[in-house]
């Protein structure tokens, strides 16, 4: 494993945050720190220790890597008041940990003299990095893994943010349910999710019309359900010419959400801004990039992109 040292620092509320700092060999150090921000509630190692694998790839290239636990999570101090996991996720996506991220940069600047940062992380870590970059220009670019662009808020809101791709994926199972007495009973007694069913039917009709008219189907969400903070932060990155690499898992809904809810609704704005975000899809990967081949793909893409942006010493 890549060596690291245990570090602790205070956030602005005086809570102690604990983490691990991986430092490159002094002769190779680029003076740039990749902040690997914790995903969801899983803490600074990430699912299946993904963040250790990323650190092991980036540190020999001369990058500092800092992984730490946000307040109320992992080993850090503090408590979070939420009882539902979905509520925790929504507060994360709304910027709850931006202050902790800025505190981490302040600490790195003060103790290691590093002033240049790459905001990075998976899912909740990615959105935190984006929102922190909006608030702090020391984040020069974004390496986002599975960047969420909508607030899902739990299964009850699923119908609202269901993508075309997901709706089409559900079509087969709904046809099967037509022959299942229990499903039919649920439908007739008001226990089915009619909103989801309607979204599936609408996607199906849309596709059939497109086939008949010989025109490609457009998959644009009728209503923009993007996280209210997302568009401003993303567009600000483009306006301030800070590049972004968005790595999405091919089997995850986040790419389609980004395309249907954000890109489609901001097409005109995006056309006028510098095209400095790239999207890399890791084929067949699940949300946490759980297959070894997915991890290799993710690491290769991240390394190539970072090395092309920051010159080596």
């Amino acid at each position: 494993m890549i060596p690291g040292r245990a570090v602790s620092f205070d956030n602005r509320q005086g809570q102690i945050l604990h983490g691990i700092l991986h430092e490159p060999h002094a002769a190779k150090a680029r003076g740039i720190c990749v902040l690997l921000l914790s995903p969801g509630i899983k803490g600074r190692v990430g699912p299946h220790r993904l963040y250790l694998k990323i650190a092991a790839r980036l540190v020999p290239l001369g990058f500092h890597v800092l992984r730490f636990d946000f307040h109320g999570l992992g080993d850090s101090e503090g408590d979070l008041p939420e009882r539902a996991l979905a509520d925790v996720y929504n507060t994360v996506h709304s910027g709850r940990f931006v202050g902790d991220t800025i505190a981490a940069m302040d600490w790195m600047e003060r103790t290691a003299g590093v002033r240049r940062f790459v905001g990075s992380g998976l899912c909740g870590g990615a959105i935190t990095a984006l929102l922190a970059a909006e608030a702090d220009a020391r984040i020069e670019c974004l390496l986002a893994l599975g960047l969420p662009s909508v607030l899902e808020g739990g299964p009850e809101n699923w119908a609202r943010v269901l993508t075309h791709q997901e709706a089409i994926g559900l079509r087969g199972s709904y046809f099967q349910k037509l022959t299942d007495p229990a499903s039919v009973r649920r439908f007739l007694t008001g226990k089915s999710s009619y909103k989801v069913i309607w979204r599936v039917v609408r996607a199906w009709i849309g596709d059939r019309r497109a086939v008949r008219s010989d025109r490609p189907a457009t998959h644009r969400a009728t209503v923009d359900h993007t996280n209210p903070r997302f568009a401003n932060a993303f567009l600000m990155m483009l306006r301030s010419r800070r590049p972004m690499l968005l790595i999405f898992a091919g089997a995850d809904r986040l790419r389609a959400q980004f395309a249907e809810h954000f890109e489609a609704h901001n097409e005109a704005l995006l056309r006028d801004l510098p095209p400095i975000y790239e999207v890399h899809i890791v084929t067949d990967a699940n949300h946490v990039f759980g297959e070894p081949a997915s991890v290799d793909d993710l690491l290769d893409a991240s390394e190539a992109w970072l090395v092309s942006r920051f010159s080596a010493r």
């Binding site: 494993m1 060596p3 690291g4 040292r5 245990a6 602790s8 102690i16 604990h18 691990i20 509630i41 899983k42 803490g43 600074r44 190692v45 699912p47 299946h48 220790r49 993904l50 250790l52 109320g72 999570l73 992992g74 080993d75 101090e77 408590d79 979070l80 939420e82 009882r83 539902a84 996991l85 979905a86 509520d87 925790v88 739990g154 089997a251 067949d284 699940n286 946490v288 990039f289 759980g290 297959e291 070894p292 991890v295």
Partner: protein, 271 residues
């Protein structure tokens, strides 16, 4: 809070640990053993909260990551049950050094971590007590459930099982590995855990043992836990109602209040 994260050196490798120091030491100490793989991540905060409760009650507490997990050295596939048991024993020695005045030592473990704790105290006389939260009683059944996660991933990816349980087992036994939620399961861990029986591990431990069954709803006491408890006069069994916080559930679990209460009672701590 007085908490000291540190890396422990052992034979050229490093184990990450956190020493929770009490404000008013009471010569009591506890080592906490975490469960396996993603169960460790989901349950992490409950273990941290319990360590803090113990520290506030006067205990020196050591939490640590087994090699192959968390921030400790080694790849997951290079660690097995024996390395985990050895790490738990090393953690006991470390805590004895960090808290030399402690005369009463308890090991607390969750799921496979509970089983590791039981195996680590076997034949030891310097450990007073075991608190085993939802311990793995039959390692073979536990490993079969672990394999099931791979089958579920196959269903999600291909809508069918491409490689069945027998084929997966054959691959592991042939020297290969299979992917479980991003962790490479190899033969040593699979075989060693499959052979594990909690009853055997507890045979040569004479200290107090609290076996805790955790259920989200009312459920009968598992016969295997009842049998274990009745086999030794210093073993007790308790049932608590908590959600399975070592999995992804809808509730955000920062602490397990019932589980904490029962465990502190067993330690004679009044809150």
């Amino acid at each position: 809070m007085n908490e000291n994260p540190l890396f422990l050196e052992r034979d050229g490798e490093r184990l990450f640990a956190v020493h929770h120091r009490p404000a008013a030491p009471r010569h009591r100490a506890a080592v906490i053993c975490h469960p396996l793989a993603e169960e460790k991540l989901w349950s992490h905060r409950v273990l941290v909260s319990f360590a803090r409760e113990l520290a506030s009650a006067g205990f020196d507490v050591l939490r640590f990551d087994f090699r192959g997990e968390g921030d400790s050295d080694r790849r997951f596939e290079d660690a097995d049950l024996e390395t985990r048991v050895s790490d738990a024993a090393f953690a006991i020695e470390t805590l004895r050094r960090l808290a030399p005045g402690a005369t009463d030592l308890t090991l607390v473990g969750l799921r496979l971590g509970a089983s590791v704790a039981a195996a680590a105290v076997s034949r030891r006389t310097d450990v007073s007590r075991l608190i085993l939260w939802d311990p793995v009683v039959d390692g073979s059944a536990y490993m079969q459930n672990f394999l099931r996660l791979n089958l579920m991933a196959q269903m999600a990816a291909h809508r069918r099982v491409v490689e069945d349980r027998e084929a997966l087992t054959a691959r592991i036994r042939g020297g290969g590995s299979i992917n479980i939620e991003g962790y490479a399961l190899t033969a040593p861990l699979f075989e060693q855990v499959s052979l594990f029986r909690l009853a055997d591990a507890l045979t040569s431990f004479d200290g107090e043992t609290l076996l805790v069954q955790i259920d989200a709803a009312d459920a009968p006491l598992k016969p295997e836990l009842a049998a274990l408890a009745s086999a030794h006069p210093r073993r007790l069994v308790a049932q608590v109602r908590e959600e399975p916080f070592w999995k992804e559930i809808r509730t955000f679990y920062q602490r397990a209040p019932e589980l904490g209460r029962v465990s502190l009672e067993a330690l004679g701590v009044n809150r």
